[in-house]
Each structure stands twice: as C-alpha cells, then as structure tokens.
Amino acid sequence: MGEPAENAVVDPGLDEQIKKLTSEKIEGVITKVLTEETAARLDVYMRTCVHCGLCAEACHYCLSHDKDPRFSPVGKVKQTLWEILRRKGKVEPEFIRECARIAFTECNVCRRCSMYCPFGIDIAYLLLVVRRICSLLGVVPQYLQDTVNSHAVTSNQMWVKQDEWIDTLQWQEEDTQDEIKDARIPLDKEGAEIMYSVIGPEPKFLAQLLGNIAFIMNVAGIDWTMPSFDGWDNSNMAMYSGDCESRARIERTHDEAAFKLKVKKIVMGECGHAFRGAVYDGPKGLGWKEPPVPLIHAIQFYYELIRDGKVKIVKKFEGPVTVQDPCNVVRGRGLGKMLRYIMRAVCEDFRDVSPRFEHNYCCGAGGGVINCGPSWKSARVKGNSVKAEQLKATGAKVIITPCHNCHSGIEDIINYYKLGMHVKFFSEILVNAMEIPEELKV
C-alpha cells in the first residue's frame, strides 16, 4: 500500500532498528506475544469485527483525512494485526516499520472508536498489542523510546536528576513566598493528607506550574506533601511504548512513594495520560484492581476546592474561553461535568465545544504520539483538522487544557491552522481568579 508522502519521516528508532531484525526474531516475538500475552480479547475482537467500517466516523485521523480508509480504526488494524495473524508472524522488517508507524503515530489510543463500533471492539487495545510487538523488537520512535529510557532510569519522563527535582521545588517554594507569606512545599511530610505528584516536564520546562500549585495549596490550607525521592512523577510513557515491564516499575515507584509518605490520597497535576497510567490502565499491570492509594485528578481537586469554598473566586477570567475534554480523564473517567463546573466558576464567558464530554475529539498528541518527536509533528497536526474546526467554531480566544499532552498538541494545532488562540492550564487562570486571604498576603 506504500507510505503516504506526508509520512515519509526519518526516525532512527524505526529506520535503524529494523535493520537489526531477522525474520526468526520477528516471528519469535510475535508468537510470544500472541500466545503468552494475549488471550480472549484479542481473539474475540478479531473474530467479531464484521468489517463494517462504522468505526471510521470516530477517528479524528480518518475524519481529518477526508475519510481516507487507511486512517479508519479498522483500516489500521487491517494494515497491522490482520496481516500479522494471517501470516502467522512471518513478516519482514519493513512491515514492522509500517506497523510501528501506524500504531505509534497514527493512533492516539484514545478509545473514541470503542463508542462507535457496534460491538465495542477496543481498537486502541489492538494497536497497543502492535506497539507491544514493536517494542519487544526494539522498533519504537526514537524520542518516545528516550522518554521510556528516562523513566526506566529516573522514574521520571525527562531525565530530571534527583537533585534537580528537589532544587526546583525549593526554588518554586521561594518564588511562591513572594506572593503568599511563608508559603511552603512540604517535602516528605509523613502522614500528610495528600501527596501531590506531577509529570517530568513540570520541573523540566514548566516549573511555574509547581509554583501555582504551591500557591493554591497554601491558600486553601491543604495538608499536603511532595516526595523528595523517586516516585514524584506520575507519568508513564512506557504504557504507550509497549514496554509493560517498565510501565509496571514506574507505577510501582509512584505507589510506593505514597505508601512511604503514609498519605490518604494522591492528587495529580493537570495531565491526562498520567491519570490513565496511574488510575486505570497502569495499576492493572501490577495486579491492582484499583489504585491502592486513591488518585484525584486536578480537575476534581479544583472542583472540590471551589465547591467547598476552600478557594474563593473574586476575579473571573474575562473574554471568551473554551475547553478541551482530555480523553483520558473525560472519556477515561467521566470528569467532564466537574470540568464544566470549574470552567463556569472561574470564567465569565465560557463557550462549550461540540462534540463534547466522552465524544470530544482527541487532541492528537496523546497516546504517546507527541512524544514520538518533532519529525512526526507535521503528520500529527495534519491528522487533526477536525480539532481545529471544532475549536474555531467556539469563537473563543483562550482554550483551557487540563492535560499536558492536550496543551502541547493543541498549541501545535493553533499555530498550524492559524487559529489565533492561546492555550492555558486551568491552574494558570485559577491563581489569578482566586482570593488571597489578608493574613497570607505578603
């Protein structure tokens, strides 16, 4: 079928790695995955799909490519798993490259299609099986693999060293003290109510977000802590690269940090994939049915703070604002209503999107796709023109994205389609809208 021109991307993680493959190795890995690691779901999904194509309506890649069949959910399975099964794993290295391209860069494993397939076939799961095969063969987009390597070494996504993490927290604590008297980021406070965890990019590039949460926690008077040791990062790129062993190790480190600190719950920053990894897809791999220490997403945390009057909104954000429903917290955990509650509480002019809630379009960045690196960016952005149209239709000037992947992905979309909008995290507008009690003012 050949590679579409716009995707003729150079990526050593694929191009160089397939050169090392032999057909025996490929067949061995595929057989292993199909016999040892998959069972009823794969089998039944493959038998049940009636090739009706109704899932095409779900996928933003397909919709953005004029319903190009290669981008339909079932089309992607056809190009990968159907062939793998039909040929019983006897496929060439070049075919594995195709599989990797499709599974890693043309599907956000957003699960929208499961709501459109009459059988509820989990296409995302099927493409994750393909990713698993690629990962065991060492064929993973280079940048994505690098984040997984970082996770394996440091337990965080961005090669943040142990001293850099603590140093950043201490620096942000000081910065927050310029606004809130004696504000603290309590490190390693055993028995605190809440452990707050974030994703690696926050200390690496967006330290201000750590300052924002310190601001909010101190104003709201929350009994909270952050670990000075590994386990502070709740993200999990291994979940997307197909490295189940690293995925499990990362989740365990995060859980163990909470056990060690004796906290009642973990509140996590505005990230969607991390929520998926820590709350419902990650724990399974370790044997947890539910996360052992309950996890609360920032959306719910802010919702509770505002609802219970722990933070008071005094200066609502002006101008038209819209919102992105991150797949992994809205379709993934039903937080859409709370998201709208906090949006309305903090914004004067909230413009809702359509489609919304669990039917919202994926940002195109999640599922590890943005982590595949800059060389795949153009394909990613072109694969989501429906998102641009959807956002444009709201007439908003600002879009709130309570997820890091959505944040970066939508920024790219705004720039490419010249939408003239700005992307913000919710905490950024919250800190400007909330009241600082007199006694805490500097």
Partner: protein
C-alpha cells in the same frame, strides 16, 4: 540500641516541650521529629533574618542557614539535617557542620547503629556519595540512590559511568549504568540498575539489573545470574549464608528465585517485598494470588485471607514465630497478624512493632484526625499527634511519644 537500654523507663509522664509556645515564637515551623528515646523533639524553624535552623526542646542551634531540610534523629539520638549557606550545601549534625561542602546534597541516610551518615552529592556538575564528611574519591556522570552496609563501613550507589547523548537510545540499551561501592565501579555496565542492597555481613552487594529490552536478572558483586527473567524486583541476601533471593517473573507468573534458580513451586500475579525470618530460612513476601487480591505468603504458601486494596511489607517477630503486615481492605487500613486482621480499622496505620518476645504488637494509627497507639488491636486514648510506640528491651514497658493540647510528652506505660 544502647540509647533505648539506657533511657528512662520509669518516669510515667514527662512534659518535654510546649509546641504552642514555639508557634508563638516562630513564624514558620517545619515538620516535627522526635528522638528514639523520646527525650527530644525538634523542627526546623524560621528565626531572625529569615534564617532557618533546628529548634530542639525549645532551644535553637547557634548556627543558622539560608535553607535547611530533611531533619531527623538518628538511632543513636543525634540530630541531623541538610543545610545551605552561600549556595553551598552540607550536612549538619548536632550543630556541627561537615567541612566538605557540595553543590547539592540529598538522600540523607544512616546505617544500623547511626554511626555512619551518608548522602548523595553533586559537586562540580558530577555526582557521588559522601560518608561522614568524606566524599568518594571517584565521581560519576550521575549517581542515584544510596545503600549503606549494616556495619557502616561501605556505601554503594547506582552510577552512570559513560556519557550518554540526548536521545541516544542505542547507546542506552548497550548500557551506561553500573554500581559503585565506596566509589569503585563494577566492571560491567547494564541497561538499568535498581535496588542495590548489601549482605548482612556487609561484604557483598546485589542489585536488580536489566541486560536487554526484556532481559532482567540479579547481579551480585557485578556478576549477573546465568538466567534471565521477564522482570525482577529487589534482591535480598539470606542473613545465614549469603545466598541471594529475588522475586522473578516467568511466563507462569511471579515466583521466587535463589541464585538464579526458581525455588518456589507457586506462581503469583505479583510478588514483592520479601523478608527473611531472623532465625531461620523462612521467607515472607507480599503476594497477589488472584488479580486484585493481596496477602502475605510464607515460603510460597499464602495466607488464606486476602485483602482487596494493598498489603505492605511483612514484619517478622524477633523470635521469628509470627508475621504481621499493614493491610488495606475496602478502603480501610489495619494490621493483619498471621493471616488474621485486627477488628478495628483505621484511616491510616503505621508499621507494626513486635515486643522482644513477640507476644505483643504495637503500632501508631489514625482515625478521623485523631492519633492512637494500638496494642494488639486495642485502641488507646487519642492524641493530637504521635510517633511509633517503642517497646522497652525487656518488653514490659512501652514508650509513647505524643502531642496533647499543644505540648509534647514522653510517656512510659506497662503492657
């Protein structure tokens, strides 16, 4: 332990410090720490000129710092924290600063008897370990984590021995990580290294290593086991003979391996936190016999009772006859002893402590914001705050360290 043998086991109740007074005196008080014998309470406070220092029983150290954190009492009763002045970090113990200064220090640790204090350090952009005011002679691109031998003579850390360019995924897989013991690295590099641990006689070091995409094993003194597994968790030395055991994952599930060979005939959904019986070869570990169910297994035989949410590492009684573990079932925490959970449940519970003869178990717990000492499942009176209870060496008394009405008390009660 000398501290506990020699401390006051007679005075029933002693008022040590008035924390509410501190609150009036200092605008900022960090987390409180208490000494093992209960005689001292301390916290880092903000004093004059916005400088920080520990306050011990109401008296502040003469030295003050721009920043200070990680305050703790060692098991010999010394008080240590990490402190910074003029952008230089160091370790301060009982108001004595180390002479050596570093770009950064963290991960403060001590050995069994508290004589050896070690930290991870960053210096000149490179990384290493410093032990009792003396840095390793070798430094590395990076050094992570830290293990101290039981006798305090040796330290080990995970080190990066070679430079790795950004996004060099090929170089990464070939391996740039190793273990350094007292600053001397193992000959071999690995893709990953975790879970460094010393043997009980302080002579050997084992760690989890990853040698390829999905090849995991245990390396002892730099030599990997002959067998590889799908995955492994932290190794542990047998106190009696220096054998190494570790949880390993095979096609059939998780089980326990000894020196590279599987020794349990049971396989689990999950298996971690193995612990040795101090008096025999028995091994207790946390296992998940079925998806979403957790318990403790001893030599591979799980307790009958399972728990839905979590089971924390098992604790053997000093005589090795009993095993207790913190468990979480349907959202509530308690302690299970030999498979039987206590009837009382809590919002949080701390590790179980056995009396020296193993007959009693005491733990700190929290419910509805009140703290308690729980003995054999029976809840004591509530405190504003408290620390882990401590049995006297003869097992007849219990030391309770708690805060009541804003004051810190040390109590001794008979059990």
């Amino acid at each position: 332990m000398a501290l506990l043998t020699n401390c006051d086991w007679n005075t029933r109740k002693k008022h040590i410090a008035d924390i509410d007074e501190w609150k009036k005196k200092f605008s900022v008080i960090h987390e409180l720490a208490v000494s093992p014998d209960g005689e001292k309470i301390s916290a880092i406070i903000k004093g004059d000129n916005d400088r920080f220092t520990p306050c011990v029983n109401g008296v502040t150290w003469p030295h003050t710092f721009e920043k200070a954190w990680s305050l703790r009492f060692g098991c010999d009763g010394r008080l240590t924290c990490l402190a910074m002045n003029d952008d230089e970090w160091t370790v301060a113990t009982d108001d004595q600063m180390w002479e050596e200064k570093y770009d950064y220090v963290w991960n403060l640790q001590e050995n069994r008897d508290g004589e050896c204090i070690a930290v991870n350090i960053k210096t000149g952009g490179q990384y290493g370990v410093a032990v009792n005011d003396k840095r390793w002679e070798n430094i590395f691109f990076e050094a992570r984590d830290l293990a101290i031998s039981p006798d305090g003579e040796h330290t080990a850390a995970i080190v990066q021995t070679e430079r790795l360019d950004g996004a060099d995924t090929v170089g990464f897989l070939e391996g740039v990580w190793s273990v350094a013991v007292d600053g001397h690295r193992w000959d071999k590099n690995f893709t990953n290294v975790w879970g460094v641990t010393f043997s009980c006689d302080s002579r050997n070091v084992a760690a989890e290593v990853r040698t390829d995409i999905r090849d995991y094993t245990i390396a002892v003194d730099g030599n990997p086991w002959n067998t590889v597994f799908r995955c492994v968790w932290e190794p542990l030395f047998n106190p009696a003979n220096g054998d190494v055991t570790a949880p390993v994952q095979t096609e059939r599930g998780w089980t326990l391996a000894l020196n590279g060979t599987v020794i349990w005939d049971k396989y689990f959904n999950q298996l971690w936190h193995q612990r040795y019986n101090p008096n025999s070869q028995d091994i207790a570990a946390v296992v998940s016999p079925k998806f979403g169910k957790w318990t403790i297994a001893i030599n591979g035989s799980p307790w009958k009772e399972t728990f839905s949410d979590a089971v924390l590492p098992p604790v053997f009684s000093p005589d090795g006859t009993r095993v207790a573990a913190v468990i979480k079932n349907k959202g509530k925490w308690t302690i299970a002893v030999d498979g039987q959970p206590w009837d009382e449940v809590f919002d949080m519970i701390w590790n179980p402590h056995f009396s020296p003869d193993g007959s009693r178990i005491a733990a700190k717990a929290e419910r509805g914001g009140d703290f308690f000492v729980v003995i054999d499942g029976k809840v004591g009176s509530p405190f504003e705050a408290c620390w882990d209870p401590v049995f006297s060496p003869d097992g007849k008394k219990l030391l309770i360290r708690s805060i009541d009405d804003g004051a810190y008390y040390r109590r001794v009660c008979s059990v």
